[in-house]
Amino acid sequence: MSMNMEDNRDVLLEVKNLKKYFKVPNGYLHAVDDVSFTLERGKTLGIVGESGCGKSTTGRAILRLIEPTAGEVIFEGRDITTLNKSQMRDMRKDMQIIFQDPFSSLDPRQTVSQAIEEPLKINGIIKDKNERLERVMELMKTVGLAERLVNTYPHELDGGRRQRIGIARALAMNPKFIVCDEPVSALDVSIQAQILNLMKEIQEDLGLTYMFITHDLSVINHFADDIGVMYLGRMIEKAPTETLFENPMHPYTNALLSAIPVPSIHNRKERILLKGEVGSPVNPKPMCRFATRCPYATEQCFQEEPELIEVEKDHFVACHMCK
């Protein structure tokens, strides 16, 4: 167990200056650019942002499903970016992922039990076939899949049930940490609520730590302890969930929060409409990446890239205005 010396937090995961650049014809695409954060055991960190902001890449780079260009990922005190292939395979038992699309993330030719069994088999966790089936049944029960579905194929099941299979597969290795990459975005609201409740229950029962990637701010508000907001590869604001919703400081966070359509016909709030579109992440200039859309941008914003600074306790903002 690693203890952070400054404050007695039980840190499970620490990400330091994580970068992922992709080579493209005219330079480098900065998908994740110098992102750092810590995640406490048993907590949920929400990562929000719009398409192309680098949130999924961050999740995958942490698991080394894509190799980070630079930076450290310290999991239980060990920098996993230095591990070799077989060490990494061992490590992955503790770090799992749930994908967005339950339609394409499952093999159409595997039955439910084969799909859930696969990780147990590959990692040689349970060698005996009957014992393995027992564990599969146990997992199906945990995620609320009826026993009779054990030999059905994914195409016979709806999105909610498929996502439950995805969750069961992730849980099969008894992980400590799960990256949830938009796990409910493809589901209808009534089913979405079922899956969110399930994930919360499992987290409490098994003491899991989540990194919850989403574009849906109302979902994240409900689910996360801390939230990091990303924009074009940068973390631009990070704070405890309540603080972020009550006192958002970055102009982009403000706009993002005001853009959520609220399902109520009372106290409707004024929208902050952003001009223009997200810029290009290819060869970004050393300036604030939000400056071109920011209603408050000054000279300085176009010349200097703001750092993520702790403005008040636990509240980090990367904006020249918020110092």
Binding site: S190, Q192, I260
Partner: protein
Amino acid sequence: MQEKDYMLKIEDLSVQYITEDEIVYAVNGINLNIEKGKTHGLVGETGAGKTTTALSILNLVPDPPGKIITGSISLDGEDIISVDDQGNSYPAMSERQMEHIRGNKVAMIFQDPMTALNPVFTVGDQIAEAIQLHEHVDKKKAMEKAREVLEIVGIPGSRADDYPHQFSGGMKQRVVISMALACNPGLLIADEPTTALDVTIQAQVLDLMKDLRKKYDMALLMITHDLGIIAEMCDEVSIMYAGRIVEHGNLEDIFDHTRHPYTQGLFNSLPNIQDRKSKLKPIRGLMPDPSNLPLGCSFCPRCDYATEKCKTEPPQKIWLSDTHYVECHLYDDGSTESKL
């Protein structure tokens, strides 16, 4: 009630998809009217029959296997689907006449702007094509108008010569909207127009649609699963479940005087921004298989208030006020107070 000036009237529409193995009951007798210049929201989950309803209005239900079984549809007073003496429905127009209606009187925008545009033509060409067809002008005139409509949706006219891949998702959806608006339709059907877009871009597109609706005095049928968008855009709302409209009313009726257990379930499933500690209350179970609907109320197997009657008897429409109706046995006794 006095007769209003309706842009769209749908009466008792039923659509089925008939295959060798089974019959899928997609839409099962719905009524839906939209007054000129008003916005009507149609809410429901995947498979509720929202898109089939929209396609029926354009007479674009794929046939076979799709069949309009009963019902009539009229657009701006003109019948598109009529009923004969035996009670069978038939298209009231030739395909040629229908082609004239589509685009001119009614236009539709789809969920995914990436697939709605042809990648090998410039967006200008694609918009001009519609204009040429409907307004019988030459290519040059049509192109001019195409540039104009692009400007209306906030895209510089000079970009008419660009190809779809040169636009971002939000801009592609604007192009699709401009295409739909090119011939000033009286009714615009928007099928999940912002679902594929990011929230800040969604806000821009919704704002644009609001402006245009006012400017052209256009009726709008807004199909969405997002009650937040409904609250923002619509005058009236219909909640659809398993091919039926189970509750209908104006915004106040639906949001403040929710009566149907399904509508209530939808609201409870949404994470509450104001109260983040509240536990989500999902609707248990799943939507029934549309090829094998329950005998009584379709929602009965998932309903917490279901009684014996709900299992055997489909509920009838009960008007709670001039604007608000619900299809639920809870209100059979004539009371209008909430039973939830």
